[in-house]
């Protein structure tokens, strides 16, 4: 066997990393290189430097340190029983690749994950060393996201938090039963305790220290997690319940939903079909409703006996159609909370409605100018010179507002 080239390693270890949905480079503390004279900055909102034809943004160099792994999680391309080709980067190679890509403005930074080789501490130790070298030896100020290994030693977690902007631990699947069945070596209890530990570290370090009154740096971008959708039979209700639990328990910045995607060397334990992309999309919308629109998890799925989100219409519209007694809402009088419940009005549109109506009464066309499209909004609001009349309660409202069924691209 000939020696593997850097390019081959990159191909293998980025292919191995692509099933992780997160690519966010936002939420980091503001930082630039003016003082350090190095390279790198993070200014709050992340930047997507490219887009692949799967529509996903490419913001970070998302790679695995190695795809050798002692775990055998059936949904994972890197599981120990998989016949995928294996490779392993050296610490130097990852550092150099990150810098070379960053200097050409291809990326915002590094998202490093890894298969677990020999021991969790050994693997985590190398990941932390990469982050340390980038920060300390190369004065790298770009974004670093480290996927932490739940079983690693607390000292390593501490060091990881010092260098990284964000840390994450994947819960993998919405239920413990799912993890036990599909990832038999993973311990959901350990994953929870690791997330709890991360939360307390992040909270502890965000307090100014007694002596210097400054804050120690610890994962300023917080922690996130990912769960795979469609690999087990969990309905959306279970998934959203898990998310609500995770957000409230561990103060996560994000829960990522990753539609289970067929992998090149598949296990017989899993459905062999195309990833449920629309379902994934609806889950993200529902997640947004919980975090920014004041919806409770059980409200979103009320009236859906199978516990699944409506794939044909977005969850807010579905909720409104099922709760028409709450409508119409008067855009000139209703409070923010109720405006946020109107289909088609986003947080920004609501903000602008509240601003504008202090100075003039809003007509339907004014609202149309403040939001993306008035079609969805119209049946649910009262405005100056406009009442929806019987429209709100019309029997065919759903059919009117549901987008015409289109064939999904290619599939």
């Amino acid at each position: 066997m000939t020696a593997i080239t850097l390019r081959q390693k990159l191909a293998i270890l980025s292919d191995a990393a692509k099933y992780d949905a997160s690519c966010a480079s936002s939420g980091a503390a503001k930082r630039n290189s003016l003082k350090s004279g190095g390279i790198g900055s993070t200014e709050g909102s992340g930047i997507c430097h490219s887009y692949a034809p799967d529509g996903r943004c490419i913001s970070l160099l998302k790679i695995l340190l190695t795809n050798f792994c002692i775990y055998d999680c059936s949904y994972c391309i890197n599981r120990s029983s998989s016949n995928v080709r294996r490779a392993r980067f050296t610490v130097d190679e990852v550092v150099q690749l990150t810098l070379d890509f960053y200097k050409r403005n291809y990326i915002e930074g590094l998202f490093l994950s890894s298969g677990v080789i020999r021991s969790p501490d050994e693997t985590m130790g190398e990941m932390v060393e990469i982050a340390r070298r980038l920060r300390e030896e190369h004065r790298f100020g770009g974004y670093i996201h480290l996927k932490t290994i739940p079983e690693c030693a607390p000292e390593l977690l501490e060091k990881a938090g010092r260098h990284a902007d964000r840390l994450s631990i994947n819960v993998e699947l919405p239920t413990d039963e799912g993890v036990n069945r599909l990832a038999p070596e993973k311990k959901p209890e350990t994953i929870r305790i690791s997330m709890a530990r991360l939360r307390s570290k992040i909270e502890e370090k965000s307090e100014p220290t007694m002596r210097t009154k400054t804050r120690e740096r610890f994962a300023p971008g917080g922690q996130s997690t990912q769960m795979i959708i469609g690999a087990d039979a969990s309905p959306d209700a279970t998934i959203l319940k898990s998310s609500a639990r995770l957000y409230s328990s561990y103060r996560l910045r994000r829960v990522y939903y990753s539609a289970f995607s067929p992998i090149p060397d598949s296990s017989s334990a899993l459905p062999l079909k195309n990833p449920p992309l629309m379902r994934e999309h609806r889950l993200y919308q529902a997640d947004w409703l919980m975090r920014f629109y004041g919806f409770e998890q059980d409200e979103i799925l009320s009236g859906r006996p199978d516990g699944m989100l409506d794939l044909a219409v977005d969850p807010k519209l579905a909720w409104a159609i099922g709760n028409r007694a709450m409508f119409p809402v008067d855009v000139n009088r209703a409070d923010r909370e109720n405006l946020l419940r109107v289909p088609g009005l986003g947080t920004r549109a609501v903000g602008r409605i509240l601003d504008t109506r202090r100075y003039r009464r809003l007509r339907l066309e004014d609202v149309g100018r403040l939001c993306q499209s008035i079609t969805k909004v119209r049946p649910f609001i009262v405005a100056e010179g406009w009442t929806p009349g019987a429209l709100t309660d019309s029997a065919n409202l759903r059919a009117r507002l549901a987008p015409a069924p289109v064939q999904m691209e290619l599939f």
Partner: protein
Amino acid sequence: MAAIARSLPRMTVKLAGQTDLDGWRTAARALAMKGVPADQVGWTIAGNASADLFAGTDHAASEALPGADSTTFTVPRAFVELAETVVCHRDPERFALLYRVLYRLREEPHLMKIGSDTDVRRLEAMAKSVRRDIHKMRAFVRFRRIGGGPDDRHVAWFEPDHFIVEANAPFFVRRFTGMRWTILTPLASADWDGTRLTIGPGATKTDAPSEDDAETLWRTYFASIFNPARLKVKAMQAEMPKRYWRNLPEASLIPDMIRGAEEKAREMVEKQPSEPAPHHAKIQARHWPAPPAGDSTTQDGADARTLAELSRTAESCRRCDLWRDATQTVFGEGPAPARVVFVGEQPGDHEDIAGKPFVGPAGRLLDGVLVEAGVDRDAVYVTNAVKHFKFEPRGKRRIHARPNAGEVKACRWWLDHELALIRPDLAVALGATAAQSLLGKPVAITKLRGQVIVRDDGLRVFLTVHPSYLLRIPDPADRDAEHGRFLADMKAVKALMG
């Protein structure tokens, strides 16, 4: 600086450059204060063909508008910020539009808040377009390296929609401080030599290097990170429109990636699962040996001989469903044997995260009162009637939910075994749930507070409130009074301890 020309009845203001905000501001302020209506003013850029039409009619601003700077004219901050962005737009009408809005602001001071106004909307749309262009430049500039070693330089060719090079250059300085770089565009260039930023004239694509070795690796990455089973071409193009592609080294791969995707995805779906990899069995044997035969996994803790053993068994307790949402079992803590056991209701948010009882606000309050009452904290064992946190998620918080009778009963198993191993001569029930667990029946705490009930097994149970009750009293005077009562209770406990 701007010069103002009077070509009756119109005035024409000639600005020094495409993004001459200062010139516009000076002239616009003066004109607005003089009450010159927007349709009377034209705006041109020095050196532009259109500006030359008015050549010869120019006048200096001070001449045309005496005393223009003597008074101030305040405009909302939102307008100033918007203007800073809008001047970068390529639309030649931008200065006129800005002036019209400025003029209207004299009579309509809240205009900027009227998001439905046509002029405001147009300004906002222009600003949005400029901001997007700025963002896309930050995203899609691709540097190519010239030379190697310490003398290397990075040069990029980019084609923006608007006049944004100067506005955007400081971003690249902040980000690539330690590099020497140049960004070339058709209308302007920005150069950073490591210490100084220079904005220069436009250039052509051929002035920039045509390749860079790193692009091979970048293209490899781009092709590998793509998941063919998730093809969404429209989503890609919405964010990365085709007009940018010609300057993106990775974009030439896209057509082939799209063409091959369907087949690749179908292959993955149709391919039958293969035999486990050859090394798999070895890894399993080495890292995940099967548990030795006869090792029962249904330990219930009944035969635990120490609290540590009991606590370990409780970690995987499934006696009720509360484990599903909680982080971990929070077992009791303290010496064994101990004279007195304090029993609370259930762990709270802090306890659930830390895995220790009474470490949150209520725990700290209890600690303080125990010190005040002179109870030796080290002689006390603290635990809860229910060992998992029961809560309702509310956004980023968890709201305490009261355990029901079934859950209390299920968890009593652990409390009974704790008591059996500790063998205290006094238990303190903090609140109704603890009392119910210790006495096996609902108890009216408010009525029986401060009393001792002796159980059938001889254990004395002292009844009082849970310290979290004190934390919820809003009125300071009431809270002080209740604090006093709770302190008295703890003193009684101290006396009962003997």
